[in-house]
């Protein structure tokens, strides 16, 4: 038996085309919803701005209170090229006391490779001579486990002391190079 053609079936087909196009429209908020969202968004923007300012002031207070410039020492870590060494972790000792032991995520390593510099340690030191030792662990050339230490004698004076640990490539020997230097 062949059914007779019914107008509703044709209507269903038309509805299909409508539905295909109407679907995205359904997701578009109404004017009232949009206006409400815009108002909330403006409030959120203002609040976020206040929160950033508040966090900035808290950040400054913490540093000034806990690490005054007269005793402050900051140790940074950077990577220059770094093709011969894949960084896993760094251990930092000041005057033979371990002050930082940091294990790196892939994201952090990527951030270092893109030019970011990590503030590895922030602490206080009395005026005078001190020894800073850093141990780098990771994979060296040919995927071999690699551990290397580097030392720096620093003379802490009245102002804040900045020290940079830099991992770079020594092209001549195809080996990584670990440099530690003081910033004025």
């Amino acid at each position: 038996m062949k059914p007779k053609s019914h107008p509703m079936l044709f209507a269903a087909r038309l509805f299909t085309a409508f539905a295909l196009l109407a679907v995205p429209l359904a997701a578009v908020p109404s004017e009232g919803d949009t206006a409400n969202l815009k108002t909330v968004d403006q409030d959120v923007q203002a609040l976020k701005k206040q929160l950033i300012e508040l966090n900035r002031d808290l950040f400054k207070l913490e540093e000034e209170l806990l690490y005054p410039a007269s005793t402050q020492v900051a140790v940074f870590l950077s990577v220059d090229v770094g093709t011969f060494f894949a960084l896993d972790s760094v251990t930092l000792k000041v005057d033979d006391k371990e002050v930082a032991n940091y294990l790196y995520t892939d994201r952090e390593v990527q951030a270092l490779h893109r030019g970011g510099v990590q503030k590895l340690y922030l602490g206080n030191l009395k005026a005078g001579s001190h020894e800073i030792v850093a141990f780098f662990t990771g994979k060296g050339p040919h995927e071999r486990d690699y551990r290397r230490g580097t030392t720096l004698k620093v003379d802490k004076t009245v102002g804040a002391k900045y020290v940079e640990l830099r991992i770079s490539d020594r092209e001549a020997s195809l080996q990584p190079e670990f440099v530690v230097r003081q910033w004025e």
């Binding site: 509703m8 295909l20 995205p24 923007q45 900035r56 209170l65 970011g116 510099v117 503030k119």
Partner: protein
């Protein structure tokens, strides 16, 4: 036949498809770290620290450190870059107004042409995102040189999108035709333009652009998805035209297990049905019917399948499918009712965000795919297709993260307060000793005495007074000899006095010789001792001054810090309820949006249900009429 997919995700992406240009753009622009400046030589370590967080997409931490370090004046060598970065960070945190203010400020100052160009570009992007196309185009027109790295293709895409936004499709097409770049950006641009032209009625030209994307060799999932979208768009256009070209061929290019397969299967079914091949239409539609009913295409397949059966004269099967469709629509509508009720109760965003992995990475929305099938979460992923919903959810999440951050600071502030108090107590306890030391030390008298000794030594050196540097024992011997001389003078002359005098002379000579011999060593030693005394006095002066100063500074410092701790604690206390209120307002706004959307879905389900019921009635009528004949 197909790998089972999350239909919620498909639905979301299907919406992207038809929204076309704007959505394709958003997908790209939501990853601000792509805009990152190429690594440069960091000349201020603290700027490197800001970049370290920026490159990890931790924009909030990055902007806080940037602002703090700027206040500390530690970004002197990167002042302009830092300003540009700040603008980008504010933009990525959704603070458009602040970002715009920064870029305008940059442009008002004397900056390098490259910086100026980037500021113009960012302003154009803000303008585009807010729908100010004319302003965006004006800013783009002022960019003089090609932008660095990935910003240049993004600029070109932005320009094409802005032109499309203004309805100037011809110009957008011209820009694209001269674009030889084969990376992802030009494909997005071509796709956007193709969709825009089709929607504007210029199907032939639109098809040309979409074909380019629809036949590309996809190197990754992103490109493969874009290719699917292009083919689907062509398929839809052909389907609506109902011309001579069979859309089935193009629709078959869409992957069966991709995010657009539901739409493609539905459209493929209609293409077959239009070509009077209902048996072949059933293949995609029956597959579709097995998928989750959340998806609009799946919903439609419930009435499409019986339609094909009617065409095949299988009215019994058709009736059965229509009946089950009506039941399914009713069930789904009840589930939506449950969801609406759950969403209106509030708290639905928190439970959703609890399932999101940590870390504010671009595209984290799509990880919501695995949301539990509970009434308040069932449709959320589906709702994320709306840009407004995405922005709102992101705002809500930002606020909650900032609230957690503030809570940590509250604990720290308490610790700081205690620390300052301890410092004050320690300073108070030290004060008596300090005062005693300050009052009991007469540095001026000591300095005067030191000067007198130095003057005397200068005389000794000038006259070479060897006896002046004699040891106490030698001095006693020297004085004894002087007394002997006096006694000898009183003695009567004679051999005995001569003998004593001779012995005294010999003793004096021996002593003088000894004093003279030791003089050089003693003078050197005395000179050194005097210099050391002078240095020790100076050191004592410095220390005493420091002790005096410390007494003055400590109370002032602790009071200064205490004041800051109090002020910040007040600000934290003031802002915390504001966060709650704003987060609640955001949740309500999103709940309204969600309910609006869910009600629209219900309306659609009701329409489908009505269609099914009418069709069913029609079949019964036909059966009755046929039976009566």
């Amino acid at each position: 036949m197909h790998q089972r997919l999350s239909t919620a995700r498909l639905y979301a992406l299907c919406i992207f498809l038809v929204l076309g240009a704007a959505v394709a753009w958003t997908v790209q622009a939501d990853e601000p770290s792509r805009d990152a400046p190429a690594p440069t030589q960091v000349r201020d370590l603290d700027y490197g620290d800001v970049l370290f967080h920026f490159f990890q997409d931790d924009y909030f931490e990055s902007i806080v450190r940037l602002e703090a370090n700027r206040d500390f004046d530690r970004l002197q060598h990167h002042a302009v870059e830092a300003e540009l970065l700040a603008g980008g960070l504010y933009l990525s945190l959704g603070l458009h107004t602040e970002a715009e203010r920064i870029f305008d400020r940059l442009l008002a100052g004397p900056v390098a042409p490259a910086v100026r160009d980037r500021a113009r570009f960012y302003l154009a992007r803000i303008g585009y995102q807010r729908g100010y196309y004319e302003a965006a185009l004006r800013n783009l027109g002022l960019v003089e040189q090609p932008l660095p790295g990935k910003l240049e293709p993004e600029r070109r895409l932005l320009e094409a999108n802005v032109l499309m936004g203004l309805g100037r499709f011809g110009e957008a097409a011209k820009r694209l035709e001269s674009w030889s770049e084969t990376g992802g950006w030009s494909n997005y641009a071509r796709f956007n333009l193709g969709v825009a032209l089709v929607r504007a009625g210029d199907t032939a030209r639109g098809r040309q652009f979409l074909e380019q994307v629809g036949t590309l060799q996809a190197a990754n999932e992103e490109q493969a998805s874009l290719r699917d979208r292009a083919n689907l768009a062509i398929g839809f256009a052909l389907l609506q035209q109902q011309g001579s070209e069979d859309p089935a061929a193009v629709l078959s290019r869409v992957r069966l297990d991709g995010p657009f397969s539901n739409k493609a299967l539905l459209a493929l079914g209609w293409a077959e049905a239009n070509a009077n091949r209902p048996d072949r239409a059933l293949v995609p539609w029956l597959e579709l019917q097995q998928r989750r009913l959340l998806d609009a295409s799946v919903q439609e397949s419930l009435v499409a399948v019986p339609y094909a059966y009617v065409k095949l004269a299988s009215n019994g099967q058709a009736s059965e499918h229509y009946r089950s469709a009506v039941d399914a629509y009713a069930r789904e509508s009840r589930r939506i009712d449950e969801s609406i009720a759950a969403i209106r109760q509030g708290g639905f965003l928190d439970s959703i965000l609890a399932t999101v992995p940590q870390g504010d990475r671009p595209g984290w929305f799509w990880q919501l795919e695995q949301l539990p099938d509970a009434p308040h979460t069932r449709y959320l992923y589906h709702l994320l297709a709306s840009h407004e919903f995405q922005e709102g959810l992101k705002n809500y999440r930002d606020l909650r993260l900032m609230q957690a951050n503030l809570s940590r600071w509250t604990d720290s502030l308490e610790a700081f307060g205690a620390m300052i108090e301890a410092r004050e107590i320690a300073a108070t306890q030290r004060e008596p000793r300090r005062q005693e030391m300050l009052s009991g030390t007469d540095l001026a008298a000591l300095a005067q005495r030191q000067q007198e000794l130095a003057d005397r030594f200068a005389q000794v050196e000038a006259k070479r007074e060897v006896a002046a540097l004699a040891s106490p024992q030698e001095r006693a011997q020297w004085e004894a000899l002087a007394r002997i001389d006096a006694a000898l003078a009183a003695m009567p002359a004679g051999p005995q006095r001569d003998e004593f005098a001779e012995r005294a002379r010999l003793l004096r000579g021996a002593l003088s010789w000894e004093l003279d011999r030791a003089y050089k060593v003693r003078a050197t030693q005395t000179g050194r001792d005097l210099r050391q005394t002078r240095a020790a006095l100076a050191e004592a002066g410095t220390r005493l001054a420091a002790i005096g100063e410390a007494g003055d500074l400590v109370p002032r410092n602790t009071q200064g810090f205490a004041g800051r701790v109090d002020e910040l604690s007040e600000r934290v206390a003031r802002i915390a309820p504001l966060i709650d209120a704003t987060a609640l307002a955001q949740e309500r706004a999103l709940a309204d949006l969600a309910v609006t959307e869910l009600q629209a879905q219900q309306k659609r389900l009701r329409s489908y249900s009505t269609q099914a019921q009418f069709a069913l009635a029609s079949l019964y009528d036909g059966a009755t009429a046929g039976g009566g004949r």
